[in-house]
Symmetry: C2
Subunit: 380 residues, 2 copies
């Protein structure tokens, strides 16, 4: 094992009908709330009205920023921070999926300062203070609800970057699987893929940690057992619950105990597809992962074979493991080639240029510019 | 799954040679340190001198309470609290195993008040404030380093009780497996047994939680794979590391996600043997567990069979599972009958009376007075 520090101060509220505890939780931080949400589903589902009525009846002073885009952008973060600053909010309430919660983490550290939130991503500024963040999750996927990380795009710069600090953990996250019952089939599948990819990034990281490996396998096996059942029965509460819980466990720190780094190469390469073509995050991962394993197989053949053998309870070679994992992604309706997305205007050269501009890399296999072309050719 | 709240604010520092970070960590809380430790090994190993020199060279004002007994008693807690109060300490540094850290948790909430720490166990008082607690663990067993619980005996009352509150989490725990290299064979085995028993208590708890079950199985399989190797090679760092990490994971909350209660019947019954005959905690658990499973088999037969089948990777009946688990405990040198401890003066009646006086019970199988006699007869 590598030396590690485990720290996760998030209070996670999980289960059915837990939102009545929301008011008392927000009150711990004050009366002025900035409500942040996305482009539509929260309003359509009635959750927006429910929360707004609930907060107003309890005497909260609510300002709001709606319209956070999926694949969130820094312009929304900065605009929301202005509103939060003007209203001197005491607490942020983020209602949505990864995009909304990621954006809100950066909003929370941007409100107290006078510059763009992007300065945290470039390292130009370090946060000294954060407005407390409470999250209500409506999509099981990214694990953002129980970690400090945020991924945001800056289209002016042509970049998609990640940031996190001990200040950007949510204080509380509310996870009621009922709120995910209406997520459509494709985004449900992308969420399952995302949690599996997070687990894989840990698996391919640095440091031998046998118990942590068992946890990783546990999470992926759970997703592979109940993910397909959920895809076949989208309104099943029990399956929603299992996937929501697994997604949270997949990126709350425990898959990294005893490792010094994960291998975030696939995420990093996938972000390029989201940046250029708005490919949903989970879909970008299932496109890149099989290609990435095939390209780097000479370096990590044993580890790929071990992964497949553990997941499928039989001795598999690296090639067989990759094929089985790819087949799983397909079975839940995820793309495994960029062409599966039917996007017009895709250019190998523009993807390559953006990878170079964004300095796409990975922790353990040390992806370099030399690798980009071969990788693209494997998933194009 | 049952609704649950996950919250664990402990900062865990794990790995080789991590103690240089201790001074800066303590300084966060102030300059006046109460050092709490046990009856000998910390002095014998040289760790006491190392820490004391380190703290003094960094200008800390150190008061101390040594001599915490294994199976800790409330008298030590109260005496240490007096010293902490007199010196107006800013932070407690607990150096030792479960007894020292458990005692220090209660010391931390007793220093600010004028009554005995026992009042927290009886419910007569509730803690309002705690002196921050930093722990250095020297024995892999109880998991106390990453949870808020403490178990202490009161021999005047003839009771052994548990207490925990959000205030009694350690702020930081330092786990360097090197500090456990000199733990003798018997206590090493009891530690392995303890972490397995904690996992079992979760397994037999209330609430179906498939991913959490996988985590429990992961922890126990790790202990069953590397525990015997460690017993055969006590100075092996790698095995010490694996067991220390597994023990922490076994009682830091994650085995309880999605469950409303664990079944603490075996712990509760085992405490009686420690109270009356100073049986080491881990040994008390391996004595009671096989008997407990045999006695309650009619109620939880499927769950026992599932446990054994998952642990040993083959389909086993409940009886076969119990036999295999009992055989494992024996294989690492743990007692599975009270008579294995060769204690003089054991009386069935006094054990029974103490179980009645201590109101021994369990969460899920609902152990009652009617069960005590049969249980005792199975392990005597």
């Amino acid at each position: 094992m590598e030396n590690f520090i485990a720290y996760n101060p998030v209070t996670l509220h999980f289960g059915k009908n837990i939102l009545p505890a929301l008011g008392a939780t927000l009150k711990e931080y004050g009366n002025r709330v900035l409500l942040v949400y996305g482009k539509g589903s929260v309003r359509k589902s009635g959750l927006y009205d429910q929360i707004m009525n609930d907060l107003k009846s309890q005497g909260f002073d609510v300002s709001e920023y709606g319209g956070i885009r999926s694949n969130p952008v820094i312009e929304d973060v900065d605009a929301a921070a202005v509103i939060g600053r003007e209203h001197a909010v005491d607490v942020i309430l983020a209602v949505g999926g990864g995009s909304v919660i990621d954006s809100s983490k950066i909003i929370s550290v941007t409100i107290p300062v006078a510059h763009s939130g992007w300065d945290f991503f470039t390292g130009k500024a370090k946060p000294a203070r954060a407005i407390p963040l409470v999250a209500i999750l409506t999509l099981a996927a990214t694990g953002t609800e129980m970690n400090p990380f945020a991924v945001v795009s800056n289209h002016t710069q042509g970049e998609k970057s990640a940031f996190g600090s001990p200040l950007t953990f949510p204080k509380h996250s509310f996870l009621d699987p009922q709120l995910t019952l209406t997520v459509p089939r494709d985004y449900t599948a992308y969420g399952i893929a995302d949690l599996i990819a997070h687990s894989f990034e840990a698996w391919f990281g640095t440091g031998e940690a046998t118990l942590t490996d068992r946890f990783v396998i546990s999470i992926v096996k759970e997703a592979m057992e109940y993910g397909p059942k959920l895809i076949g029965d989208l309104h099943n509460y029990e399956y929603r619950e299992k996937i929501m819980f697994a997604a949270t466990m997949a990126l709350n720190g425990m898959t990294m105990y005893g490792r010094s780094t994960g291998d975030w190469g696939v995420h990093s390469a996938g972000h390029i597809l989201s940046l250029l073509h708005d490919v949903p995050h989970g879909a970008s991962l299932t496109i890149v992962y099989p290609a990435w394993m095939r390209h780097f197989k000479p370096k990590i053949s044993d580890r790929i074979a071990q992964l497949g053998s553990e997941l499928f309870d039989q001795t598999l070679s690296a090639d067989q493991s990759i094929d089985r994992i790819e087949a799983f992604f397909k079975s839940i309706g995820c793309p495994t080639r960029l062409s599966d997305m039917n996007i017009s205007g895709v250019s190998r050269q523009s993807v390559l240029s953006s990878m170079i501009h964004n300095k796409v890399n990975g922790g353990t296999v040390k992806m370099k510019e030399d690798d980009y072309g071969a990788l693209i050719d494997l998933y194009l």
